[in-house]
């Protein structure tokens, strides 16, 4: 099987798997208990926190709170900080766990500000900053790497502008698609107040993630109970998953330079291959929804999104599946809704173009050969399916 849907989730790294398995067997003691087995579990969790902080170059003012994953981390920060009446803003290209969490504040009469007019090719325009100031916005929510397109927000630059032009606006970043693919220096964190991570997007286990946030902030807990993690997030800590998360982050950070180079090579191969297909197959008209050039500061090499009207992405997906190739349809969270991708529509795609699209997303385990196989099978599937959709295109 060729797995090219790594933005949806990733296979477990064998080393991480071993860590989790061993810990599942050995570390069953509740880390909140006072006998030595519990103390040991707690020590391992604290070591994991340190490991994560080190791998991401986190300054000491940040706290790490473990959550069930990225969605919970986003919810905890947004609701914990903005509920009931702190004004928040977003671009409209974020994951539903950000946008829906913001929408949930509407019950308090706290309508989030949507920066639709301040988008430039998926990024936030500089002009948004004075507007945020004018609207007295207290929190700006952005995705570090967009989950459907791979657009990278210039976080450091935005943070610097906010400090200067809209100092009361804090910055929250959904980092679910970025960790393991982007580099983190201590300077990155200067203007960031909150950041979310999910283990299963970086070859770690499902069901674990964390919220990294500025310790000076007072977050209202969203899950009440036994006051674990200082009361910010109650619930017995899953030691094995936490160790798995830490190991996955450590491995990805140690291998980052080679992973980056590898992802870039895969992406180049894919884009050039698609262009070649376009010239070989006269009826294939491609549109790159991701940035079509190798500008890796603005575009993550891990994701490539493209449209090919009039053939529907979902039908191509199943034809590729038959050949053992798994690819993505926009975002997996909305793949069940049958609605064309909100993000692609926001970017100016027609309904047709949004429906006729695929998202290829790479992980470190993918190979150039796999990309070649994908290209061959995609070309074939497209040619098989084109006649059926052509008549459709003419009649509509």
């Amino acid at each position: 099987m060729i797995y090219l849907d790594n933005a949806a989730t990733t296979p477990m790294d064998p080393e991480v798997l071993k860590v989790v398995q061993r810990s599942m067997r050995d570390d069953y003691a509740n880390s909140g208990t006072v006998y030595s087995a519990g103390v040991d579990a707690n020590r391992k969790i604290e070591q994991a926190r340190e490991e994560i902080a080190f791998a991401l170059s986190l300054p000491s003012r940040f706290r790490i709170v473990f959550t069930s994953g990225g969605s919970e981390a986003n919810n905890l920060f947004i609701k914990g900080l903005c509920s009931p009446d702190r004004k928040a803003a977003y671009l409209g290209l974020e994951h539903p766990s950000v946008t829906e969490a913001l929408d949930s504040l509407k019950v308090f009469g706290n309508d989030p500000v949507r920066l639709v007019e301040y988008r430039e090719q998926g990024k936030m325009s500089r002009k948004a900053v004075p507007y945020l100031n004018e609207k007295r916005v207290r929190l700006l929510c952005l995705s570090h790497v967009n989950n459907e397109l791979g657009v990278v927000q210039p976080i450091v630059e935005i943070a610097a502008m906010l400090r200067e032009r809209s100092p009361q606006t804090r910055l929250f970043v959904d980092g679910v698609q970025a960790v393991g693919k982007c580099e983190f220096a201590e300077t990155f964190w200067e203007g960031v107040s909150g950041y979310s991570v999910s283990a299963h997007k970086l070859n770690g286990p499902k069901g674990i993630g964390c919220l990294i946030y500025d310790d000076r902030l007072d977050l209202k807990p969203q899950i009440h109970g036994g006051k674990q993690q200082g009361g910010t997030r109650s619930g017995t800590l899953p030691t094995p998953l936490i160790l798995g998360l830490a190991r996955a982050i450590r491995i990805s950070s140690e291998r980052l330079p080679e992973t980056r180079a590898h992802l870039e090579a895969l992406n180049e191969r894919l884009r050039s291959g698609l262009r070649r297909l376009q010239s070989d197959i006269p009826e294939l008209k491609l549109r790159f929804n991701s940035l079509p050039v190798a500008d890796w500061a603005r575009q993550s090499p891990a994701i490539c999104n493209f449209s090919f009207t009039p053939v529907e992405g979902e039908v191509v997906l199943h034809h590729l599946e038959k050949k053992g190739i798994l690819v993505g349809l926009g975002s997996a969270c909305s793949a069940h809704s049958k609605e064309p991708s909100r993000i692609l529509r926001a970017l100016g795609c027609s309904v047709k173009e949004a429906l006729c699209s695929l998202r290829i997303s790479f992980g470190p385990q993918n190979t150039l050969d796999e990309v070649d196989t994908f290209l061959r099978e995609f070309g074939q599937a497209y040619q098989t399916l084109y006649p059926a959709f052509r008549s459709k295109a003419i009649s509509t």
Partner: protein
């Protein structure tokens, strides 16, 4: 309480069956037995007009749950064997009714006796009065009263079954006829709301219903197939065993799409489905086809189109939902437990195979003409050869 319990099972329609009655009752007894597989120590008796189950008190809840899905049972009551003695009967009655009165001081009850042991010293009405009077005497101070027509608690006494047994309130059964008394049918199952209900209605009329599913992978994902499998697991609850035939259908659809008039496609697909289903039914000894069609519900379900489709088969085609409206169908789907599965979003292939304007009044000569343009006999054979069979396990409930 580790006391032995007796469950009385009533059937209604079977009672009318004249000379075939034995066959129906034997079938019901067999179905009850296999429905209770895995429960030890349950004894089944079939005295005149009734089925009696003897079991441990701890088993009653599980048994009632399982009996609720056995077709042919009109109602059932849980009870105990008692001495045919008025004091003993009243004592049992008080034991059951007292907790009820405690919760609701306005509670009402009635006693209903049936006497098949005609040598018993009192008539049924006398027993009603005597036992009822004794219970009332004890519980009237707490607020209990008698209500013959709408009692909260209906105490039933059967004297001489051969035993004397007392029962609590009736629990509704599925009604209908025991599965296996009406033969075998093959239902066209799509994954939507209607077809599982149609199959269920045939099961309740005593049929063993098997299913056929037309799969158009790779145009559609595995989601449709998976849904149909889970629907079959729910339907298997009602009949213990069924088969699911999965027919690869994409080649037929591609051939029709590429060669025939677009407006006629839907009817042409259905004609092929009927043909394949009939061929399979003949091979496997199924006596009729069943579909979930309901008149006028969608474009393919007009009288003209139903007729155009039925023309291609010689066997009986049953459409138990033909006169039902959508809300009735949905209510039944919810009751039998298929609704939640049916409404899960299912990837469909409309965009590839469906025309913009499907014909609502297909004309036979046109359809026959379309069918000269692709090798349907050959494709039918191929589809049959590639058909796979599965035996879904009943899903727990």
């Amino acid at each position: 309480m580790s006391r032995e319990r007796t469950i009385l099972i009533r059937y209604d329609e079977i009672a009318l069956k004249g000379k075939n009655r034995r066959f129906f009752i034997e079938r019901l007894r067999h179905n009850i037995r296999s429905g209770l597989r895995g429960l030890d120590g349950v004894r089944v008796e079939v005295p005149h007009g009734r089925v009696l189950l003897h079991c441990a008190d701890s088993q009653t809840q599980e048994i009632v749950k399982r009996l609720k899905v056995v077709s042919g049972i009109a109602s059932m009551s849980v009870g105990v064997m008692v001495e045919p003695d008025l004091e003993a009967m009243a004592r049992q009655g008080v034991e059951w009714i007292a907790p009820l009165v405690e919760k609701n001081p306005n509670a009402t009850f009635c006693v209903r006796t049936r006497r098949s042991h005609k040598g018993y010293e009192l008539t049924s009405t006398e027993v009603d009065r005597e036992v009822g009077g004794r219970i009332l005497e004890q519980l009237r101070p707490q607020g209990l009263s008698v209500n013959i027509d709408r009692a909260d608690f209906r105490l039933e006494i059967e004297i001489g079954l051969p035993h004397t047994v007392m029962f609590q309130n009736r629990i509704e059964g599925l009604r209908g006829l025991p599965v296996g008394t009406s033969g075998k049918v093959l239902g066209l199952l799509s994954g939507g709301i209607d077809s599982p209900v149609a199959l269920f209605r045939m099961i309740r009329r005593g049929c063993r219903a098997h299913a056929i599913f037309f799969d158009n992978q790779p145009y559609m994902g595995k989601g449709g197939h998976d849904k149909v499998q889970r629907l079959c697991r729910v339907l298997t609850r009602y009949q213990q065993a069924m088969r699911l035939w999965v027919v690869p259908f994409e080649e037929v659809q591609v051939a029709i799409r590429d060669n025939c008039r677009p407006d006629n496609r839907v009817v042409l697909y259905r004609r092929m489905m009927y043909r394949i289903a009939q061929a399979l039914a003949e091979r496997e000894g199924y006596q009729a086809l069943v579909t979930g069609e309901s008149l006028g519900q969608v474009a393919s379900q007009t009288l003209e189109n139903l007729n155009a489709v039925s023309r291609v088969v010689q066997c009986s085609v049953f459409r138990p939902l033909i006169g039902m409206d959508k809300n009735e169908i949905i209510t039944q789907a919810k009751n039998i437990g298929t609704f939640d599965i049916s409404i899960e979003p299912q990837p469909d292939c409309c965009s590839v195979f469906m025309p913009e304007h499907p014909v609502t009044k297909a004309r036979l000569p046109e359809l026959e003409n379309d069918e000269t343009r692709y090798p349907w006999e050959e494709l039918l054979q191929q589809a049959l050869e590639k058909t796979e069979v599965q035996d879904p396990e009943p899903s727990p409930f």
